[in-house]
Amino acid sequence: MLYNKIKTLYPQITDKDFDTVITLQNNSDGKGDYIKVWNHPTLPRPTDEELA
């Protein structure tokens, strides 16, 4: 799962971050989960390879 992959990649990320600077989304259109918003002040947005 995307949420768990990100938490594994960046263990320092908190649930609060997912409520404030990171938004994961699924539009129920068959395309799956994706990062809609990544505004974390210090951590770079994960690449597709890192999330694969």
């Binding site: 799962m1 995307l2 949420y3 768990n4 938004t23 994961l24 989304q25 699924n26 129920s28 259109d29």
Partner: protein, 191 residues
């Protein structure tokens, strides 16, 4: 005084006019309606959109992801403005102020740490519903939201998203035979 248009059984349609600038409509005797001197669209039941749709079967979702709730079963949709087949969105074609209500029910096989529900407008979160944190239970929990919001009557659309956060296990938005997770809206007044 007023100019009055009256419909009666005895006389059919009659009218009386004066120069007051006030218009009244009468049906029979003593049932007067004064047409207000405002600019707007007269609303009757036929042109006031209202819909109610619910999640027809349990929806599996990922933890920590805002997921559109697939309210795919309509109870009513007076203006055919709700898409229950593909996008699960409400696109009213009458500009005005709409009241929305939504409820999300979730469950997981392990402990749930958070449940939330959000009304989206034009693809982005717009009004947050209730959150529950640290539920420490596997049973179903419900969160609700309601909001009065403006729609332009052309392009604005509304969707219902929910999120459940857990550390493991399978997450589901639950249907509950239509009573658990649902999305409703109606025109409260025109613009």
């Amino acid at each position: 005084m007023a100019s009055i248009i009256t419909a009666t059984v005895a006389s059919g349609l009659t009218q009386s006019a004066d120069n007051s600038g006030v218009l009244q409509l009468a049906s029979g005797t003593g049932n007067l309606v004064t047409v207000p001197s405002v600019t707007g669209t007269a609303m009757v039941s036929g042109n006031m959109p209202a819909f109610s749709a619910y999640l027809g079967s349990n929806q599996s979702v990922s933890s920590g992801v805002n997921t559109k709730v697939q309210c795919n079963t309509e109870e009513f949709d007076t203006a055919s403005a709700y898409d229950s087949a593909t996008n699960y969105r409400f696109t009213p074609l009458v500009a005005g102020y709409y009241q929305f209500n939504w409820q999300l029910s979730c469950r997981n096989s392990t402990n749930i740490s958070r449940i939330s529900c959000v009304l989206y407008k034009n693809g982005s979160g717009f009004k947050n519903g209730a959150d529950i944190f640290n539920t420490n239970s596997t049973i179903g929990y419900k969160v609700t939201g309601s909001a009065l919001v403006y729609a332009n009557g052309t392009t604005d659309y509304f969707e219902f998203f929910g999120q459940v956060q857990t550390t493991a296990g399978t997450n589901e938005f639950t249907a509950g035979s239509g009573a658990d997770s649902y999305f409703q809206g109606y025109l409260a007044r025109t613009a």
